[in-house]
């Protein structure tokens, strides 16, 4: 019996899908789906953002040694995948603030000469407490908890 005989019989008995057709498309479909999943899974996983570096246990990150950050210096470090500005103030205090501008999200930089945090995008300035001095930002910078342990500066991630 060939395929068209099958179809005539199936239609006569009111079966919309023949047994042969069901097996054929079912198996082909399953094989195709399995292949697609097998190929696409590694590709999607490959494109997924990979973990970059280890950001320390319990969200605590040792960012820099105190002797590499003299008074008046400020530098940006990655804490829990976010840029954090760590400043050693001229009053010998340590401050850690989010380095993402609250206006449109540009990454801030430390203006050594004026001792302020500046935004390269729209001429915004913040002081070392994170408060806005001038410019468009609607809110102050989020502070991070910062500690000096021995001669290492440690920042705690995820602190508001």
């Amino acid at each position: 019996m060939n395929e068209s005989d099958d179809r005539i019989q199936d239609e006569a008995q009111g079966r919309p899908v023949s047994r042969r057709g069901f097996l054929k498309y079912g198996l082909l479909g399953f094989a195709g789906l399995a292949t697609a999943v097998g190929v696409l899974t590694p590709i999607v996983a490959y494109l997924w953002p990979p973990k970059v570096g280890a950001s320390g246990a319990g969200g605590r990150v040792t960012v820099v040694s105190t002797k590499d950050l003299p008074p008046g210096a400020g530098e940006i470090f990655s804490v829990a995948n976010k840029p954090v500005m760590v400043i050693h103030t001229v009053e010998d205090d340590y401050v850690a603030l989010s380095a993402t501008c609250t206006h449109l999200g540009c990454i801030l930089f430390w203006d050594v000469e004026r001792q302020v945090i500046a935004c390269p995008c729209h001429e915004a300035y913040f002081n070392t407490t994170g408060a806005v001095i001038s410019g468009p930002p609607p809110a102050p910078l989020e502070p991070y908890r910062v500690q000096v342990e021995g001669d290492e500066i440690v920042v705690e991630g995820g602190q508001g």
């Binding site: 239609e11 590694p42 590709i43 996983a45 490959y46 494109l47 997924w48 990979p50 973990k51 970059v52």
Partner: protein, 225 residues
């Protein structure tokens, strides 16, 4: 039963395009070529396998380019990153590396088949020429790709390989300098090989592959021995 059976969706989709572009007949003439009986043998598949490998190289190569950095400082580091940190990075890079080797092997296998069955003869001489160009392109892909990991093997392999160009009479030294972007292998060589590998060779490969396939469709495959 319905008075009028609705045509299959694929037929209706085809009708939709045919109505607008009038392409069914020319496309059918071009694509519907039954494979002759004498050609239904595994060794007539070698060219198709080579092309499949080329497509795999395209996909994995694009994926690798998303993480690879073509600088002397960053290249090897980005390779380590792909192998150790990117999910399935080891798999994508290994497939790219193995397929490159296999592609040359299958290219040669395909050429042997064409040679032994005499398929290169009149009227198919130009397709043989295009095929030889594709073999050379494949080897150029392999040669330029070899430098990109920027490890010791890559550096010395490319040093020795490019040295061969230097023995061309009269203009050898000049060619060598042109290839290496200087008299030795530096970061300039790396970006040069990267550009050739990623842009120049794929473009040429597409041109020659298109030519290769259009000709084979036009002439059909050669008759039995």
């Amino acid at each position: 039963m319905e008075a009028q059976r609705r045509a299959k969706w694929s037929t209706r989709l085809g009708d939709w395009f045919d109505e607008r572009f009038d392409v069914r007949i020319p496309l059918e003439n071009f694509l519907k070529k039954p494979v002759p009986k004498h050609a239904i043998k595994w060794y007539f598949c070698l060219g198709g396998i080579t092309f499949s490998l080329f497509l795999i190289q395209g996909v994995t190569g694009i994926l690798l380019s998303l993480y690879y950095r073509p600088t002397p400082e960053g290249a090897y580091e980005s390779i380590l990153f792909i192998m150790n940190n990117v999910r399935f990075g080891w798999l994508i890079r290994s497939i790219h590396s193995w397929s490159s080797t296999l592609m040359i092997a299958f290219c040669i296998g395909h050429m042997l088949r064409v040679f032994i069955t005499g398929a290169y003869k009149n009227p198919r001489e130009l397709n043989w020429v295009a095929g030889v160009a594709l073999l050379l392109l494949t080897m150029a892909f392999g040669f330029t790709g070899y430098l990109l990991p920027w490890d010791q093997k890559a550096l010395w392999g490319s040093t020795v390989g490019s040295e061969i160009l230097g023995i061309v009479p009269l203009i050898g030294g000049w060619l060598l300098g042109l290839l290496r972007a200087g008299m030795e292998i530096t970061g300039l060589t790396l970006t040069r090989f990267y550009g050739i590998h990623m842009l120049v060779l794929p473009l040429l490969a597409f041109i020659f592959l298109g030519f290769h396939f259009v000709i084979i469709r036009r002439q059909g495959i050669s008759g039995p021995l």
